[in-house]
Subunit: 454 residues, 2 copies
């Protein structure tokens, strides 16, 4: 009798497990089908890109973007949509240009200001160039060789690497720390080769960090970096004129937050977001208009497929990922001060190409539990669920013990567009973008439903 | 003592296995690094696309393409490069157009001829349209409703499916068999909605099969399919004029073959190829200029990384995959007649986007052996090694017992370009293409080195 009962119990457990798996498959299929058929998010991305390009914190277009997306999230039927106000330093770029002089001829270069570059006098700064391959080289050259010069960081992106994010990580110190190191040794300005793999005419901007003083700091297109480098080999005393007109301000600004109330634990939050700001030189389609729309899709997909969320879903469109990361910090502070229970936070800020996977900054045990659901996601091109960082905006939540995740789309084309005028709506494929929306919604559904993080 | 010996033996085996694995990792890294740095194949793809677009069997540009690629393979240093001559029917498209008439006004439609469409009289064929969703519907309507009409197949591509090749497979009967079924029931011409997911202005051509007689058979862009369908709802007796000027010929043509001699078993062949022909309306970059260049890269990568191939590597650029598949059949016949030992055959004819995996038409035991090497390929984005077909050109080798494989790149964008004017060199990303070349070379290396198929 006991054996029979045990047998029946086991049978019921197995049957339930099989049923649950089948049910999950059906739910994911519904999510993906809805995502692939809907053009709403894609169209709204077009609106955001075309009506609010260059939406860096403090700019007019940053407010236009917040208005556009607030209206959009309200229309999607989120239960609450509100602005989390905060104040932050900001930086407005009015113009940037540079030319080199060869035999008395002025040859314009394709450049753009790094943020927050210092300004030059109106007529620009003209000085000799010293080309280097690394920050270490600048330090070794010392004040004697650097003082009064323009430092030109020209170490290329390593195209040997399969992972372009790794190549980016290896090159980006020339942009992030290079100008400050040059300044410390007396340089009057700095030029950084665009942190991108290909040879083309787009200057790729990005953030740099100064301490108290600033100098003009610009990025140059890879084609013109090659041109400048070749010219330097012929004309040792070649001079370059750099002009930057920019302004430091302090601004009141917002994170945009939209909640879809949970059915069982409404005061616990499943946070999903991207950043609404974009550099002054770009529509910011892949970086990160897509992250904003994919995150908004989580609300739409839950509602339209009739899924029940136990916890509240909170879409956050962070302001200022690019310059000072003030939005992410502001939300973490707000959470701490108001004792907000962020159960889980996901970010999409790595492009909207075809899906590859998720990185997870969670406990070992949670990672193990999440991986058990990999077979459900793999048929949709989710190759990996691996340990890794969440993202810049949700990073500050880690200190509060929140489990984090980053959505990862295919990275081969990403740095062709990153932080430059080439990051346009036309570069977005609707299906690839929507497969990301569906993958994010699916993982959030599973984590919520089966309490996969701790 | 025996125990000690056993222990030492085990230790040596494990050490060897670890060493072999490390050696393979190093070899693959070398292949990928060389592939990612070399621009040679990408540049040659540009030449092929620009100098020999529309290179359908029997056309002038098909011969230009063979010449260009023969010279290229010779310059790569293949040991033998030769043309395998054969004769085949072919079809030359001179022009195709169509218009609909609404209230006496002629409105041009974006169309192209399917291959091998019949020709119309010079002034075209004008008739009423009957719109259908399937071949079955045509059969049900019968001769009474079809006779004297133009049948308009308008069932859309199913965008719900993650796998666009599956969606293609579900829609393509309207193009492949639809015109013949229409003809059998007395239709005077046929129009097929382009077999593609998006709404755009490109007519996508492709092959159709007639028995003895032919009628004009055209594809219409998805935008104009919608327009025509909407017009039909308002104007029941709407007429369309279809004009096709095409020609059936018989041609002498070639497969282009290049061999890199094996070091141990030179009379066994590792076949790798793509098809050199492309539809009359396209540069044929993804379909299948890329397959030709990726296959050629296998030779270059073996040579330049100093790898030794036990068996001979045979690159085949097949003629006429698109129209009658005569090149693939001709090589299989040549193999049979000359008792050629094709050990393994791989095809790249599914686009040159970021890599996803390989399908394998091999024995169960071989598949198991190949899968053991998956951990070496996974870090390079090869998500799957699964059972599946090899490809149209190598298909005829199956009868001869050859193990087959198809390289699969990401399929989300493929049918946006397939068989239309949008399949241009500009749509190709050099890194994505070269990751495919490296993946193909790696798998061929492993199969050869460890005798993975039988």
């Amino acid at each position: 009798m006991k054996k029979l009962l045990r047998f029946i119990a086991l049978f019921l457990i197995l049957q339930n497990a099989a049923f649950a798996q089948e049910k999950n498959e059906t739910i994911l299929a519904k999510i993906y089908e809805n995502a692939l058929l809907s053009t709403q998010a894609y169209n709204q991305l077009g609106v955001l890109c075309e009506q609010a390009p260059g939406r860096l914190i403090g700019t007019k277009n940053s407010f236009v973007a917040v208005d556009l997306m607030k209206k959009y999230l309200e229309d999607l039927g989120a239960d609450t949509v509100f602005l989390q106000a905060f104040s932050s330093p900001a930086w407005i770029c009015h113009s940037a240009s540079a030319s080199m002089f060869i035999d008395g001829k002025e040859i314009p270069l394709k450049v753009d200001a790094l943020g927050p570059s210092g300004s030059s006098p109106k007529k620009g700064i003209t000085a000799e160039i010293i080309e280097v391959q690394s920050i270490e080289e600048v330090r070794n050259l010392g004040r004697e060789k650097i003082e009064g010069k323009i430092v030109f960081y020209n170490r290329p992106f390593n195209n040997l690497l399969f992972n372009t994010f790794q190549a980016y990580g290896q090159a980006v110190d020339q942009r992030a720390q290079g100008p400050q190191v040059a300044l410390e040794l007396g340089a009057v300005a700095s030029i950084t080769r665009s942190v991108t793999g290909g040879l083309n005419d787009f200057p790729h901007t990005g953030s740099t960090r100064f301490k108290d003083k600033k100098i003009p700091a610009i990025a140059i297109s890879t084609n013109d970096a090659e041109k400048l480098s070749a010219a330097l080999k012929k004309h040792l005393n070649l001079k370059v004129n750099i002009h930057v007109d920019a302004e430091d301000i302090v601004t009141n600004t917002f994170n945009l937050i939209a909640d879809l109330k949970g059915n069982e634990k409404p005061d616990e939050y499943l946070v999903v977001g991207g950043h609404i700001d974009a550099w002054h030189n770009t529509q910011g389609a892949h970086d990160d208009g897509i992250g904003c729309l994919q995150s908004s899709e989580v609300v739409r997909l839950f509602k339209e497929t009739g899924l029940k969320n136990k916890r509240s879903i909170r879409v956050i469109l962070y302001m200022d990922e690019e310059l000072y990361q003030s939005g992410g910090k502001a939300y973490a502070l707000y959470s701490k001060e108001n004792n907000v229970k962020n159960y889980f936070a996901m970010e999409s800020d790595a492009g909207g190409f075809t899906p590859r996977g998720f990185t997870l900054d969670v406990s070992e045990n949670s990672l193990k539990k999440i991986k058990e659901f990999h077979p459900l996601l793999e048929p949709y091109g989710i190759q990996f669920l691996v340990a890794g960082g969440g993202g810049v905006d949700i990073g500050p939540l880690k200190e509060l013990g929140v489990s984090l995740s980053g959505y990862r789309s295919d990275w081969q084309r990403y740095f062709d567009m990153h932080h430059c005028a080439n990051d346009t709506f036309e570069q977005v494929n609707q299906r690839e973008m929507q497969l990301g929306s569906a993958a994010m919604t699916s993982l959030i559904y599973l984590i919520d439903q089966f309490d996969l993080v701790e």
